[in-house]
């Protein structure tokens, strides 16, 4: 059995950690799958899926660490006008941070519930907002 649910979020800041833990749990619990695997997958390239402890101080440190790796004022090759868009890119920070965090996470499903540790919050990590973002929760099992 395979189920797929789409979740949609509208970020409101250029960089933002949006806690989607409850929504993912709910998607799994409503899937009808009792034992299997759940995948949380983004359909974008300038945001990420992060699993980490849900504390504001941790969010702040994660964001600051990513900023040190991909600072705003670095001379990015992508900082130019894109003829095929008719618009400027200028979002390499988002692409690099997205590469670091990855665009998915996976959890076991047991007895119809997502199996994850008490400190494992699931975030949509926005790196090029504000934007509307789509996340797919696919549950495979029986």
């Amino acid at each position: 059995m395979v189920t797929l649910k789409e979740l949609s979020y509208l970020s409101t800041e250029p960089d933002q950690f949006i806690d989607i833990t409850e929504d993912v749990h709910a998607a799994v619990e409503s899937s009808g799958v009792t034992d299997g695997l759940a995948a949380v997958i983004l359909s974008h390239t300038t945001c990420g899926i992060v699993v980490n402890e849900g504390l504001p101080c941790v969010e702040k440190d994660l964001g600051a660490a990513l900023d040190r790796i991909a600072p705003l004022d670095a001379p990015y090759a992508h900082a130019h006008f894109l003829p095929s868009y008719g618009a400027t890119g200028n979002n390499s920070q988002g692409h690099i941070k997205s590469m670091i965090t990855g665009n998915s996470c996976f959890f076991p499903v047991k007895d119809g519930k997502l199996v994850c540790g008490g400190a494992q919050n699931i975030y949509l990590a926005e790196f090029d907002g504000p934007q509307r973002r789509r996340i797919y929760v696919e549950v495979l099992g029986e």
């Binding site: 509208l10 970020s11 409101t12 800041e13 250029p14 705003l72 004022d73 990015y76 900082a79 130019h80 006008f81 095929s84 868009y85 008719g86 618009a87 400027t88 200028n90 907002g129 504000p130 934007q131 509307r132």
Partner: protein, 286 residues
């Protein structure tokens, strides 16, 4: 408060129409020169505006009926968006000077649709700014105390020759109509110093900041205000004539605002850049 003086609402979902007709999105993509972007709903637009502290945006249509077979948003579509969100938008009107009823349409837009000014893109619309065809339009702008936005300097739209958008191509018109306020968009880039000369010589001439065709917004704004211009030119010589503008959807307003926040300038001059000059341009001297 920030006023964004150049927004083309071509990604606004409220006026989205599929297809390749004169108001269709595929027509806009081809003739305006954009791709890989889709319509946005009001929630998305609002958070984007809020991210840049943009309280008010001036929506610019372009009537390219003769040259391209349609409009990049009609005056009615602009009025529709403004009516839905009057606290966040003001609308300009555009008419095609080649059309015999251009002046009549413009007067109707001023009188009935609440248009706050005239948007003309001579290079794209295929006329010279000082062509007698356009004279009745400038006269109407003077009569109704409405400013004119000239799309000047480099614009990405196809079939819009650079030579026809050189800042000096607008000189005769601006000189001959001292009681009409004119803006040269994109700071006339790449002819920044020619635009500076126009600002110095003609107090009814304005320019805007929508010029991130190269580099990052931070690099481009720093270059505009400290390299292409001397670092004190703006505050010393034409502090009342440059307006914040993004040229959305080609550039994101909040990124341009972030870049301008980093350019050193006195607070009172920054306030003029972000909103004061736009109000003066829109309303005239109080």
């Amino acid at each position: 408060m920030v006023i964004d003086m150049l927004v083309h609402p071509l990604l606004y979902g409220d006026i989205y129409k599929p297809g390749d007709g004169p108001e269709g999105f595929a027509f806009w993509e081809r003739e305006y020169g954009m791709g890989h972007m889709g319509p946005m709903d009001w929630e998305e637009i609002e958070v984007e505006l809020n991210a840049g502290d943009v309280q008010l945006s001036a929506l610019m249509p372009i009537d390219a009926t003769t040259a391209s077979g349609g409009c990049f948003a009609t005056n009615e579509q602009i009025a529709q968006i403004v009516a839905a969100h009057p606290d966040r938008f003001i609308g300009f009107a555009s008419v095609d000077p080649h059309c015999p009823d251009a002046a009549e349409k413009l007067e109707r837009a001023f009188r009935d649709l609440g248009a706050r000014g005239l948007s003309l893109h001579p290079a794209k619309q295929g006329f010279a700014p000082d062509d007698p065809l356009a004279e009745p339009l400038y006269e109407l702008c003077e009569t109704y105390n409405r400013p004119v936005v000239f799309h000047a300097g480099m614009s990405w739209e196809p079939k819009a020759p650079l030579a026809q958008s050189h800042p000096l191509a607008f000189e005769r018109t601006i000189m001959d109509h001292p009681n009409v306020r004119f803006s040269l968009t994109h700071f006339g880039w790449p002819w920044v110093r020619e635009t500076v000369a126009m600002l110095l010589k003609y107090p009814n001439c304005y320019a805007d900041t929508s010029i991130t065709y190269l580099d990052s917004p931070e690099e481009m704004m720093s270059r505009l205000f400290t390299v292409d211009m001397g670092e004190h030119w703006f505050e010393r010589s034409f502090s009342h004539q440059v307006m914040f503008a993004s040229n959305t959807p080609r550039f994101r307003a909040f990124k341009l605002k972030r870049a301008l926040d980093a350019v050193p300038m006195p607070d009172d001059v920054r306030e003029l850049l972000y909103s004061g000059n736009a109000l003066r341009f829109l309303n005239g001297e109080e």
